[in-house]
Symmetry: C2
Subunit: 428 residues, 2 copies
């Protein structure tokens, strides 16, 4: 339950955001870029004071017994600050999506009808410890013409409050409303409950954090949520795959980094390719310390090629449904692309799936029929990323089907309205 | 609460829909059109039996004491059937949105990245009495490659069950799964509660009906809802309006039809245009029997032009927030476009708003800054409609901000996924 004080504070904040949203939507590109660059400059010239505020959070985290990995994520080192500043300049240099008109066609009645890209309105971001998200998220929402309500982790409270002050000043310097970006001024958890149930003030919530945070918010929110849940990504090595490409891609998709959501968790291999691909590939995995959880047929192929039985774990039903985010890989042999697609439909999370094949027809079937946010041909799943896709920036990756799917850049923070040009036209 | 029997029936139906959805998504355009044309033919050749089933519903409605307007909406007259058949041929002739690829750009890494339009998956439609919606909605969902779960009003139960049989046969004839379109086979209201809380089986709910139905569904659904709520539409007659165009548009926007959601409910007039426009316009309204609810300044202008005091109602705060759907109009004088836009932002429902002006700068400001699903320049709000916008068909009008906004055609029943073409590319 929300305490009355927090509720009324959030209502006030929501009203201010809604009002500021209209002015943010009408802001010129030049104004928005000016605010972004002013903020970059303010961060640079206030580094000492910012790091002082950050120290308060770091001390509190250490006092609370958090480990060094946690404290590291919280720290605004010189390098972290330089990255934030570079990010602001990068976002300022992106094209402004707002106001773009498309498909303006003249209709039989004589009116001309098309669509205009416009901001969503007010965006609420709920995130965990890293205070750099305060700047990244604010910058993306600002550039896309939205007002923003930011609710960072309570561990970063002092850092976020300091950054909020700088953001407010930069907005005012550019002639924009200070309430264009608001940081919730309390660490009270009730503020989150209020935020996600104010559809009259907030148009969309973007939670950034672990799965439990995202699930809780999704279940309780009455405001639409652009969310990222599981990334159970597959690579399927087809009967017509080029073995060299298959090994390169399957290696990269698993081992380039273990923690990201677009890392492969299950490898599917057509039975006819197993002998050509699996022994070499699994040697690479073992060298890199990847634990292999395999189906019986995979075990048989590997055993016949000198792999030791005790080095292989038998995959369970549960493995096909697990996002390891770790040096663990499940491997399954399948009979062709249909069985591969059945497996992906049944166990996958519709995030990112890739086929390796030289067969055009098979590739195009996989591309069309696999219902995931990103579907790839002969490429590593690790490419599923806003920067790699050319979005210039990324507020997150969506596993929603409606609105924004996959990597979400500036466009995902906008929507399309219909525009009609007439000259006294009436309907008959 | 859902009774256990209905719950397990709906789970079974949901699973069948999810499985059928994969086959529907992979269906060729030719197959989908074949199913639509086969259905048209089946309806024509089964007219007598269809009307017999319909008679059962009509008799039940009369026995339950419903009025003739209600019975009329329920009736499948020869004309209603001909319209359904024509609609099927029309939807068969539309371009297939599924599989369209766009923006395929080569990225610095060498991969080519773009987007592909794909079905949403499974669409649930919940509607009230008219049984023709069964065919219209099924056809649009089928053409856009989705599986569909239809839940019509219990009053049309026999008609809908008969139509369901014809749809199933047409699907099978075209080699598509019979479960591609399912009509909920019970009039039990618990089925609706189950439908709107099965995100694992249904991707989006489209409620078609009165505001109370839509609000109830929106509040209780855990599946995303493409919804239509209020249509409090405005025409603003600017200081630089052409008076002839203003009168023509404001007349048409109110009186062409009173009940539709895109009919004007509030007329805003710049003070400097009131004398030139209001007396002639209000004479038209009075001739047509439109009740006028006016602000004090409007009353003064009309009184000075011979209107009788007792013919004018004083508008209250409540009037600005009311969707009359009737021959009633509220009128308010404002000071320029800013005050007009403030009024629209405060009282409007973000559905459809139009400005009448010859001033380009004012027109473009209104177009950019009014945050409604449809924003118009010098055109009647009555144009806000899928057919008038060239969509070829319409499943409804959305007042959502995310995903589909305004008139929703086939595209609104699809989404975009990312597609990546590589040739052995890995991330470095």
């Amino acid at each position: 339950m929300t305490t009355p004080n927090v509720q009324s504070m959030m209502t006030e904040l929501g009203q201010a955001a809604r009002e500021a949203g209209r002015r943010m939507a009408a802001a010129s590109t030049a104004q928005k870029n000016q605010a972004l660059r002013a903020l970059a400059q303010a961060i640079e010239s206030s580094t000492a004071a910012l790091q002082q505020a950050n120290q308060q959070d770091l001390q509190a985290a250490r006092a609370a017994g958090h480990d060094e990995a946690f404290v590291d994520r919280l720290a605004l080192s010189d390098k972290a600050i330089a990255t934030m500043v570079a990010g602001l300049h990068q976002i300022a240099s992106l094209a402004d999506p707002v106001g773009e008109m498309s498909n303006l066609r003249v209709q039989p009645s004589g009116i001309q009808v098309g669509q205009m890209r416009v901001p969503l309105g007010v965006i609420g971001i709920i995130y965990e410890s890293r205070p750099n998200v305060t700047i990244d998220a604010a910058a993306l929402c600002l550039k896309s013409g939205n007002a923003t309500v930011l609710r960072g982790g309570s561990e970063a409270f002092h850092s976020n409050q300091f950054l909020a002050g700088l953001i407010g000043q930069a907005l005012v310097q550019a002639g924009l409303p200070q309430a264009g970006v608001q940081v919730v001024p309390t660490a009270d958890r009730a503020a989150v409950g209020a935020m996600i149930t104010m559809p009259q003030f907030i148009d969309v919530i973007v939670p950034r954090g672990g799965k439990s945070l995202v699930e809780r918010i999704t279940n309780e929110a009455t405001v639409p949520v652009i969310k990222h849940l599981d990334g159970i990504c597959h690579v399927y090595i087809d009967a017509d795959a080029c073995p060299q490409k298959a090994i390169r891609i399957a290696d990269n998709a698993k081992t380039q980094r273990y923690a990201p959501c677009n890392t492969m968790e299950t490898l599917l291999v057509d039975r006819s390719m197993a002998q050509q691909v699996l022994p070499d590939l699994c040697k690479i995995y073992q060298t890199k310390g990847v634990e292999l959880r395999v189906c019986d047929q995979t075990r048989a192929v590997l055993a016949a090629n000198g792999f030791k039985d005790q080095d292989l774990v038998t995959a369970t039903e549960e493995d096909w449904r697990t996002e390891y985010l770790a040096p663990i890989l499940s491997i399954r042999l399948v009979d062709g692309v249909d069985q591969a697609m059945d497996h992906i439909a049944r166990y996958g999370s519709a995030h990112t799936d890739s086929i390796v094949t030289q067969n055009h027809s098979t590739a195009m079937r996989f591309l069309r029929e696999v219902d995931s946010a990103s579907v790839m041909i002969n490429a590593s799943t690790r490419f599923a990323d806003g920067f790699e896709y050319g979005l210039g920036a990324e507020i997150g990756i969506s596993t929603n089907k409606l609105h924004a799917r996959g990597p979400v850049g500036l466009e995902g923070l906008t929507t399309l309205k219909w525009v009609v040009f007439g000259d006294g036209h009436i309907r008959s």
